[in-house]
């Protein structure tokens, strides 16, 4: 059987950000799961792997995993660690996924207005950022 395992370096950790690291991990995983990029059955990297890869505290990682387990998004499998839960939540429709970015986009729009930037330049920059990471 072909077991998929997510790589620890797919997570992005920003130590100085206002959002605590365990929440950064949680929200990234939620997004990856709700978009189907982490399909049911895919294994998560071990707590140790994430901790060592990003030089972050292991308890922070397990706290994020436990929270997602409690939400039903992850399942703990004996001997295999955490996997994305089967059928728990299917891939969310585009509209709902877009809604999750609403407050961030509103904030970008607000700051763009404060800077008096024309909309097309902001959209252009956002577009190139989106294409960059692909």
């Amino acid at each position: 059987m072909n077991i998929l395992r997510m790589n620890a370096d797919r997570l992005t950790i920003l130590p100085g950000a206002p959002e605590p690291i365990y929440r950064q991990i949680g929200s990234q995983l939620r997004r990856l799961i709700s978009s189907g990029q982490l399909p049911p059955g895919e294994e998560l990297p071990s707590v140790r792997d994430v901790a060592v890869q990003h030089a972050i505290n292991p308890m922070t990682v397990s706290r994020a995993y436990c929270q997602l387990e409690a939400e039903g998004l992850l399942t703990r499998l004996r001997g295999r660690g955490m996997v994305v839960a089967q059928g728990g939540r299917c891939v969310l429709p585009t509209e709902q996924r877009l809604a999750r970015l609403q407050s961030e986009l509103a904030e970008v729009a607000r700051q763009a207005r404060e800077l008096n930037l024309p909309a097309h330049l902001v959209v252009q920059r956002l577009k190139s950022l989106l294409e960059d990471s692909e």
């Binding site: 130590p15 605590p20 901790a51 030089a55 505290n57 308890m59 922070t60 706290r63």
Partner: protein, 309 residues
């Protein structure tokens, strides 16, 4: 309340200290009998598996606190314990469970790196020779070089290798990153994290590189003017600590200390900023929602700067 706190404290916590005060006699002025307080009434319990970051500005008393915890310095008042044993009278068995990277690294300067590590290793039953060899190779340090000939960064690495090779249950590092470049620092952080994840190693680490602590620490304590002024679980920091900004001319704001206040700064424009703390799950005092008062989340760096100024 106290009884409850004590009931949760296991008697063989890796580190415990009760109300430590340390004073040094002033030697600069002859016949001066006054003394200078370096630590004032510091109490601390560090549970197993904690990665605790100790922050404070230079001269805040960080090194003295570490030395008092380890029994290398006798406090004037209060007591320290390591694994439940009085720090001043540690058994050999307890000492063997500790790895310590001091700030001053001048011991054994005449020896060769390999000989020193061999010599030290004989005193530790769990000494990890393989780890020593791998680490020296990884950090490009020849065992044939004399310690005195190493750069400060290389000596610091040797001290770190030495502390980790004992497979410590308690790892104490006093400013370990001061002479390390960013790559070596990241290596060290990863090693600390791996030990904590694999063996539940308790780590006590002093530094003023706040971003390092934001990554690896589970708990942060802050020594300021010789007292512990902040003690926070890092995951909950945004929840438990906040900055209040009081606009200039806000009449309603009390001149006295408000509940949970840690620090207060007055600015040239007449505004005030405060750092306040609450326990998880409780409410902020009413004053935070008064007109002219703004409440913001703050990260560790902000907290450090607000409190230490």
């Amino acid at each position: 309340m106290n009884a409850v706190v004590h009931a949760q404290v296991s008697s063989n916590d890796p580190i415990r200290c009760d109300r430590i005060t340390k004073r040094y006699a002033r030697k600069t002025v002859p016949h001066d009998v006054s003394s200078q307080t370096v630590l004032h009434d510091v109490s601390l319990v560090v549970a197993r598996g904690t990665v605790l970051g100790l922050i404070g500005r230079n001269g805040a008393g960080k090194t003295t606190l570490i030395r008092a915890l380890l029994g290398l310095e006798q406090p004037n008042e209060g007591r320290a314990f390591i694994f439940g044993e009085p720090s001043l009278y540690l058994s050999d068995a307890a000492k063997q469970r500790i790895g310590y990277v001091p700030q001053q690294l001048d011991a054994f300067a005449w020896m060769r790196v390999g000989d020193m590590l061999e010599f030290v290793g004989r005193q530790y039953p769990r000494w990890d020779r393989e780890f020593v060899e791998l680490s020296l190779a990884r950090w490009w340090i020849s065992p044939d070089r004399r310690l005195a000939s190493l750069s400060p960064g290389e000596r610091q690495r040797v001290a770190i290798i030495r502390a980790l090779a004992v497979k410590p249950e308690l790892l104490v590092l006093d400013e370990p990153a001061s002479a390390l470049d960013p790559v070596a620092r990241r290596d060290l952080l990863r090693e600390i994290v791996a030990r904590a994840a694999e063996s539940g190693t308790t780590v006590f680490l002093s530094t003023h590189i706040v971003s390092d602590l934001e990554r690896v620490a589970s708990r942060v304590v802050f020594l300021h003017h010789h007292r512990l002024v902040v003690d926070a679980a890092l995951d909950e920091l945004a929840e438990t600590h906040a900055r209040l900004t009081v606009a200039a001319g806000t009449v309603a704001f009390p001149a006295n200390r408000i509940p949970g206040e840690i620090s207060r700064r007055f600015h040239g424009d007449g505004s005030i900023t405060l750092v306040i703390a609450r326990t998880c799950g409780t409410d902020w005092p009413d004053i935070v929602s008064a007109p002219g008062v703004r409440l913001d989340a703050l990260n560790l760096e902000d907290l450090f700067i607000e409190v230490a100024r």
